[in-house]
Symmetry: C2
Subunit: 431 residues, 2 copies
């Protein structure tokens, strides 16, 4: 590097698993890094369902991005919302007019839940991607029991105590298990007119099995574990409509006071920013080196892209794939700066993992499958290991131990948007 | 009690310190109890400022009311918003049309912050009474630093890093100390263009001293502890206006990006529900036995009433006074059921307590004053003791220990109302 010459500028959009992994891998490289995210926090999404079901509080699974990067003086963290990319001039454009010039860009902007042409379902069947989604879902779940306690009509009460989850991927399965346990263990004996343990939890899946990305024997195990726990599993049942009161199927409907969407995701609008080709879920079709076609200086990684793995199948939309993508993009940037070149991205699938309530989990390492108790403990320890920082590890371990020993979930708060309008309990305290 | 005759019905409005103390004292009495609150949780208000300043998370200082009462089968907990009291027919009216008949009623509805004729100040100078107030204040504080990091104009940047707190009672003093520590310790080294430790924290008080309810020597100690910490204390400075950008005084103004209201409270609308006389702050003037004039079956306690203590001075609006009031009302109800009578309410002032940052606190037991380190440890242990349940005690103790050892505050999240509109970061995740 010449004296006075400016350093290679790397801009990273998104502080999720992929963006942070890229920064980690760029440590020591002769670059200036700017990371921009519209949230101030990195979120450990695999445990978001536990916030939605009152087991953990938001701060146990989220960390300020700038705190995580404080010891990296070459990294600048910005809170800002990206509205476009001027690829010709190599500038990221922010909502407030800010412009971030780059030499290399890493797009790690993830995905959000999506309704694929049925956006009108969203108000009745909210999804789960952000902390606000989780606290809103927590409020809906808890309010359903509160409303049922006050309801005198037995049919309406039964509907209020019916929880329908659409989509039996990992999120749907984990939510279903957690809601059953919330009702049967945590809320037991707390109501006077209802029996929370009579709540119906119905998991609805269009396809032929739950956890379709797992091998069939594990899908079957998960289904039976769910049913043993008390979840009603409906397979091969496409949803044709969602209203405020029911999930509709071709020839019937299920009346449910709480409906949750766990069925689909849509990539961030990065493909639109760049004007490049995307698949049906909005994902950019990147080159084998994770760059955007025609833009070797722009990498896109994680849930916002689609790329084939070594087995010829698409790389799955999981956190570990985003991490591997981030590390790979960083390695390419380093190699280029050093005049080296490296081969294409090779995704290595480490395994699939999901949990069903607090006594069964499924782990498939390919060479080893774990289920039941041993699966559950492995799942728990792995998740605590992957959390950032000793404080949060201790905190989550205590929260889980507490649930395990007493059934009490410690984050059973009904809170509202601060604007504070809305139904019972809105806004400022009267009491 | 005759066979088949119904039990004496006690309705309690409000699940704060007073309402819960009444229920505790009614344990074993031959009564049916219904408690109604518009929130699902009891809140430990003395630590709310620690949620607003990122040290604790909401679930560490709040508990579901029905969980606290699950082992009391004679107690029914309802989530509901009271809109009126039909005293002639002895019925509490709820917003959703529900009606709760009572034989004895305890009104424990507390107070909220108030602007006394200046409601237009509220959007610019929010107060702190609910968990939502606290997470909104947390967001404002953190966003001020984020905006300052992006601001290029030095004067505007200085204004963004100025935090004005109006009112130097316990809440104002504690917020001021905590904001200074957030800026100087927790955020240190995390920004690239600003130095968070240059933040100005200005505590503004119309009266002649801080913590006016403490003895003068302790007020002087608190002022000097605040100044040592780096807080600018402005005494004898009435506020004449609050705008989006500044606090205005008679002849000058202070430009501040963040303005916080800690100056006044207004009682709940209970006096209006009953059509009885109230003082300027909306508090019901109750009889010496805490009953509402003309209604011996209606008790009102805590922050929503005004009553004289044995020393001829008004009973202060603190949690312990509400607890004593709740216990007294319960004792009167028990005595009446047993055909006994007891004397008037005698408030016993146990002491005043406040903290200034993490190395000084003030405790005045009357016969003993503690300050400095010993005051701080006594303050900390007392607050942990008063939390409910082992889990939250452990959790808060670890959070404090962590701040003490590392300076890291664990709940530094910028979250939004779930409606999710608004500025940077609103709503659904893009990243």
């Amino acid at each position: 590097m010449d004296n006075g010459a400016r350093k290679h500028r790397v801009v990273i959009i998104g502080g999720g698993f992929g963006g942070l992994a890229a920064i980690q891998k760029l440590k020591g490289a002769d670059v200036d890094i700017t990371i921009v995210d519209r949230r101030n926090h990195h979120l450990f999404q695999p445990l978001l369902y536990q916030v939605a079901t009152t087991a953990l509080s938001p701060s146990e699974i989220a960390w300020p991005i700038r705190m995580l990067l404080k010891h990296r003086p070459e990294v600048t963290t910005l809170l800002g919302s990206v509205t476009g990319i001027d690829a010709a001039n190599r500038v990221v454009e922010l909502e407030d007019g800010g412009r971030l010039p780059y030499d290399s860009l890493i797009i790690a902007t993830g995905a959000r839940h999506a309704y694929f042409g049925h956006d009108d379902w969203e108000p009745f069947a909210p999804g789960l991607k952000t902390l606000e989604d989780a606290t809103a879902m927590r409020r809906r779940l808890l309010l359903a029991f509160e409303a049922a306690e006050r309801e005198t009509d037995s049919e309406r009460r039964r509907a209020l105590l019916t929880f329908a989850i659409i989509g039996a991927g990992a999120t749907g399965v984990e939510l279903a298990g957690a809601i059953v346990e919330l009702a049967r263990t945590t809320l037991r004996n707390e109501f006077r007119t209802i029996q929370p343990e009579e709540a119906r939890v119905v998991l609805i899946e269009a396809g032929p099995r739950v956890l379709a990305n797992f091998r069939e024997s594990l899908s079957a195990y998960a289904k039976s574990a769910l049913e043993k726990l008390g979840v009603e599993v409906m397979l091969g049942t496409p949803v044709t409509g969602v209203t405020a009161e029911a999930v509709q199927f071709e020839a019937s409907e299920l009346r449910a006071g709480t409906i949750i969407w766990a069925a689909g995701v849509l990539a961030s609008p990065a493909a639109k920013w760049l004007g490049v080709e995307a698949d049906r879920a909005g994902r950019i079709k990147v080159e084998p080196d994770l760059t955007v076609p025609g833009h070797p200086e722009i990498f896109a990684i994680g849930d916002t892209v689609t790329v084939l793995g070594p087995n010829g199948k698409p790389v799955p939309g999981i956190g570990d794939a985003a991490k591997q993508g981030g590390k790979y993009a960083a390695a390419v940037i380093r190699a280029r700066l050093e005049g080296r070149s490296i081969g294409p991205f090779r995704y290595r699938h480490l395994g699939d993992i999901a949990t069903v309530g607090r006594s069964a989990a499924l782990i498939d390492f390919g060479w080893l499958q774990l289920t039941g108790w041993i699966g559950w403990w492995t799942w728990g320890l792995a998740h605590i290991y992957f959390l950032i920082g000793l404080k949060n590890r201790i905190s989550v371990a205590i929260s889980w131990l507490w649930i395990y020993l007493t059934g009490h979930r410690s984050a059973r708060l009904i809170t509202w948007g601060e604007a504070g309008s809305g139904r019972t309990g809105g806004g400022r305290a009267q009491e």
